[in-house]
């Protein structure tokens, strides 16, 4: 009696329910349209360029997706990217060791995530507000730490290759992204902690009652999110060849937009890494396309904004379609 009720509603409703398929279709359509407009889109160098450039956002997106699934958000990752870049470059300069620099950058990420997590769980501050505060604190602090950009003194080869190197024909940032992506895909879908993330975001009280240590889980997810952002920051500083205190402006908005475009809900309990990947690629492809098609660059923001509105609209339609099917 009830299985048949889930087929209520029109064809559009059914399609809308298969979120990822639509997203991939959108990506394919947009890519096809751009490559009709210019042959350079489909060149190896452009595709690698797109992948390399999106790898930073996608890596951050992995963390952000997990965080959003638990029902929290982090707006400080843009400022963190800048701070990590500056610190990493500075430590490498001072110690001549890429390892120590990277360690410092990741450590800074972990500590930031820990603070974000504690502010949320112990002080019960809403994560939107808490991380906006952190965003301001980090941005202000990076200028206190270094007013000027930190130049790369030693020009170490290892450092350069993090952001710019290749393994075979694959850019290293892309390899880092793929490895992290696959690992966390498995963690999210096949392991106990992954399941618990969804439960915590889906219904926190139910999760608590089921014995899940919700607070600890959230703190861990905040830390993971910031460490991912730190990794992006390290890749960026390598590509820029200097630690810029003014880097990462708007990064958090772009990542969150891509994640939401991919179907992750701001309310928690839902979200897929596949969606995030496709969502962020769509945004990046649009930006890339506008430049290589020689359109007015201001369109980048306009079109991205329109796509996001469309995504939220489809998401709402999906929720309505779903509520019509629910019987009780």
């Amino acid at each position: 009696m009830f299985s048949s009720e889930s087929s209520k509603g029109g064809l559009l409703t059914k399609l809308v329910l298969f979120n990822e398929i639509i997203l991939v279709a959108v990506l394919v359509v947009i890519s096809a349209a751009i490559s009709i407009g210019t042959s350079q889109f489909y060149s190896t160098s452009n595709i690698l360029n797109i992948l390399r450039d999106s790898s930073m956002a996608i890596i951050a997106g992995i963390g952000m997706t997990m965080l959003l699934i638990t029902g929290e958000v982090d707006l400080s990752i843009g400022s963190l990217v800048a701070f990590v870049g500056v610190v990493t470059m500075d430590i490498i300069n001072k110690t001549n060791s890429v390892f120590l620099g990277v360690l410092a950058g990741l450590g800074l990420g972990a500590v930031t995530g820990l603070v974000n997590g504690l502010v949320r769980t112990k002080f019960k501050v809403n994560s939107l507000i808490g991380t906006i505060a952190m965003m301001m604190i980090l941005r202000g602090s990076v200028y206190l730490y270094k007013l000027e950009a930190v130049q790369n003194y030693h020009q170490l080869e290892t450092f350069y290759s993090v952001g710019n190197g290749y393994l075979g024909f694959m850019p290293i940032p892309v390899i880092i992204m793929v490895v992290l992506y696959v690992v966390f895909l498995v963690i999210l879908y096949r392991t106990v902690p992954g399941r618990r993330l969804y439960a915590t975001g889906g219904n926190e009280i139910a999760a608590k009652i089921s014995g899940i240590k919700v607070d600890n889980l959230k703190i861990l997810t905040f830390v993971a999110n910031s460490v991912f952002a730190a990794i992006s920051g390290i890749i960026l500083v390598s590509r820029m060849n200097s630690g810029q205190p003014n880097a990462g402006v708007g990064f958090e908005l772009m990542v969150i937009s891509g994640v939401i475009l991919g179907g992750t809900s701001l309310g928690g309990g839902e979200g897929t890494l596949v969606g995030t990947l496709v969502g962020l690629l769509i945004l990046r492809v649009i930006n890339n396309g506008i430049i290589i098609l020689r359109w007015n660059q201001d369109l980048q923001i306009v079109i991205s904004g329109l796509i996001i509105i469309l995504a939220v609209y489809i998401d709402n339609k999906r929720k309505v379609a779903r509520s019509k099917i629910i019987t009780t």
């Binding site: 969804y198 009280i205 608590k208 899940i212 240590k213 839902e270």
Partner: protein, 506 residues
Amino acid sequence: MAPAKDAVLDVRKISKAFPGVKALDAVDLSLRGGEVHALIGENGAGKSTLIKILAGVYFKDEGDILFNGSPVEISTPSDSLKLGIKVVFQELSLIPHMTVGENVFLESFPLKNNRTIDWDVLYEKTQDLLDTIGLDITPKTKVYKLTVSQQQMVEIARALSHEAKVIIMDEPTSALTPNEVDHLFNVIRKLKERGIGILYVTHKLEEVMALCDRVTVFRDGKLISSREVSETSTDNLVTDMVGRSIQTLFPRSHAGKGDVVLDVRSLSTEKKLREVSFQVRGGEVVGIFGLMGAGRTELAKAMFGLDAVQSGSISIEGQELRQGSTSQSTRMGLGYLTEDRKGEGLVLQMSVAQNITLPSLEDISSAGFIKRKEETTRSQEFVDAFSIKTPSLRQKVMYLSGGNQQKVLLARWLMKKLKVIILDEPTRGIDVGAKAEIHRLIDELASKGLAIVVMTSEMPELLGVSDHIIVMCDGRITGEFSRESAEMEKILEAAIGQKEYRYAEQ
């Protein structure tokens, strides 16, 4: 079924299908003016579909609707209202920030010179209606300040303002206290006197027997029976509803009582609980009764560690529970089926299997990886054992009916090796067939040695299920009864706080 004489509303051979399911299959129903006609049936029997057709929300596929003998077409809600049919849904459709008067005349403001609203007339008329119903509030009160029962009355007043001839009430007493239920019944009787026909949809068979003149039973979209209430009994109705005879709604096979498993001593919380003490033994079912606000759910939450405790202790098999740690409660074998199953119990976006296995993830995983096969096998066991109706284990629980959702929650707890389980209103809003099954499960659990606490506000359930009854009022225990010594009047007295009854265990 021959149409009754002076039927105000006559439904003949109405059918309605949705993709994949026939919700109504050539059903008949006739409603006389001045009668209270009950419509009962399990969830999915077609009652709400029929109501929605009469309300103009759905359109019938086949069949006729006759109003006062003449055929009518109802294609939109305003058609239905114009005819004089008013539905009072479970989810009330009042606007909270407006006054009673504004809500009552929402679709039909009395006008001065056909332009501006005549507020004086509006409030005067509202007062009249309220007097008719016997609702003692001023018409300028804002609706959000009223209790649910009062809001329901406002809806009825609204129906009267439209000079309704037929009022359909959908599960009207689910949120009412016994006093408020009495009040509602009085109002309904007054409506009867005015010649209004009332279609009363409910799960509660006692109400049917107490209030209604005739009763119609639907099952699986078909009409099963339609009789005078005086000519039938609860057992007959249950048989009609479920399609099989249920010997008893409250099976009892467990007998022996083991050692004390749950020991609550002088539990007090800041807001509600005052020195609550009781014990539950293995294999025993303790029923806790209380009116709204008595503190039952607060007790459950405090026991489980969700709320802070000021003083007192909770021990399971002699080991004391640490405050505020829900994970410790679970680990020590305490399970809690919440009253608000959607809000606090189920993760609606997750599947049946995922919800069932949620507290037991470590049992079905190795090295952190969930063993899919084992998850499937274990959850399938429960789905079979409890006859949970679902197209697959992967179906998201939000699509299941209330009864089946409750079974998923029960399965979740039973998958863990529990020692004590607290069930808060386990059969609320669930139809008779599913209720009986849940009671059977409770019995089975008890015979396996589990200590069970059932919190309920339904007297028949309380008396039928419990070995030992505890009554709460205002955060204190005001009554204790054994199964044999329990009497409804005494229980109610204790629940109101009028008297205190302490019977020692024999």
